[in-house]
Point group: D2
Chain length 163, copies 4
């Protein structure tokens, strides 16, 4: 059946507009990243939206959920801005069952030199193949259940919730 | 307890010597790659050797095995040249139990622009956390049991053995 | 005597702040770029300021001019944001004589993958060695007298003023 | 009339063959480098050959000379391996007049991360526009007359001949 990579935007896919000096979205880099990783998984890539996760609305989250539900794949990687990744994970956890969904993102745009994106994509695609149904966050080489994690904004890392 | 990354060389760590125009080994890039991946796993890095896997001897494989056996960690990622990765996996499978060992490598040196190394490292570090004890090869986003895989040298990819 | 590289900021030296998702200045990349270019010129690097050229004030321009005047070097490369590079060139032309001053910049930050910065730096350092005293803009492989050039903002390139 | 970039191979254009682990030539990277440098010069690119300069023959040098002589352009940049760049320069100096020819190269292939190629190309394209007729070597940010330079092989840099 293969894996669905559902693209929603986030830092992952931001680019530098050399005419305006601003960051913007053009198109997803996922295909290029899969090529660079010499990925041989059966992967379908679908861009649901291209937004900064700080600007993601409830309607956007419903769209992401609908995409996950209707997908034939039961293993789904969602690329997402890190700021509200956990909020979206919560919506997905409430609305799906029997699917393994792994959200991942990047702290630095892939198009820039020093991105963690390729590392995170390799990580998320691996976790999604072996973890049981549920919704997870894969960042920093780690994988958390959606309700056991928080983003430490001052360090820029994801960490376990204290018990 | 954390994860051991056991470095043995391979394409992963090759560099370009600008005085001779040859490829050579200087030191491992694993620390830099973990930093780039913003990795927050508890990882110990140990360089057992720095060799081209085509030149790896039986004695080298015994050294790698000894390092795996004596390591306190039960989750081990071995970075290795792709040409003889499966041979080493066989030695490790014969000599270890109750450890999860994932071998990975790269088709292009990390120091060059277009390497799959960071993707593979993210993948291997993820598989090693969740798979049961055994010896595996993680390449191309996939993970194979050591005795269910072959390298397709003409394509440069790893693939399942036909049943 | 050597060459002075006078740093003022600009796109050249912008970086991505992974905690805020904004572009900012940390420190100049000129030393790293000279190392990458295996530059063997006698070069002194001085950071006069680190500002976006859209925010550069008249006082800033006077500071740049003062730095050029007091420098013992008679060959000076000024790294500068492209938006107001020509305004600064005009101030330098009015206030200096007997020095060759070449302003250059970049359309994409050096720290990002696809920057023109290294090309432009190689170009500016070359022109400054051979051109007679005067103030010039070196961009896009070309070199213009300061009063014979305009920035075409919609194309993101510098071009000759029509006669 | 514009500038001719005459490609002969050299480290500049070497690539890593991920199937064999060897360095090889595929096609020139000059077009990509000119694009990266946002170069707006009128440049024609012609690949005369793609060889390692250690393997360049007298016949190859005659071919390069013939290409320079028959070119309508009077400003020519020759990309060349550094090991025998000066030998080729000597042949060009003996066989041309009234043309400005600048040879340049790289210590590290452009396709690898840490290449000096883009810096050198920016430099050579600048020197060729302003220097009088003659044959020159542009490396390390410097420009030497062909008969006033030697390659210091142990440092990997070009330096002035002692007087």
């Amino acid at each position: 059946m293969g894996i669905l990579v559902l693209v929603t935007g986030g830092t992952f896919d931001k680019e530098y507009d050399e005419l305006t000096g601003k960051l913007f979205f053009k198109k997803t880099h996922i295909h290029e990243m899969l090529r660079l990783g010499r990925c041989r998984l059966q992967v379908a890539v679908r861009a649901a939206m291209m937004v900064d996760s700080l600007e993601m609305t409830d309607a956007d989250r419903e769209t992401i959920l609908a995409n996950c539900r209707k997908a034939p794949e039961s293993q789904i990687v969602v690329t997402h801005g890190t700021d509200t990744m956990i909020e979206t994970a919560k919506v997905l956890a409430a609305g799906t069952r029997e699917k393994t969904i792994v959200l991942t993102g990047a702290m630095v745009p892939y198009a820039f030199g020093s991105s963690d994106g390729l590392f995170n994509l390799g990580s998320a695609l691996s976790f999604v193949q072996v973890l049981p149904a549920g919704v997870y966050i894969a960042m920093n080489g780690r994988c958390f259940r959606w309700n056991r994690v928080r983003k430490n904004a001052s360090l820029g890392v994801f960490e376990s919730l204290p018990p």
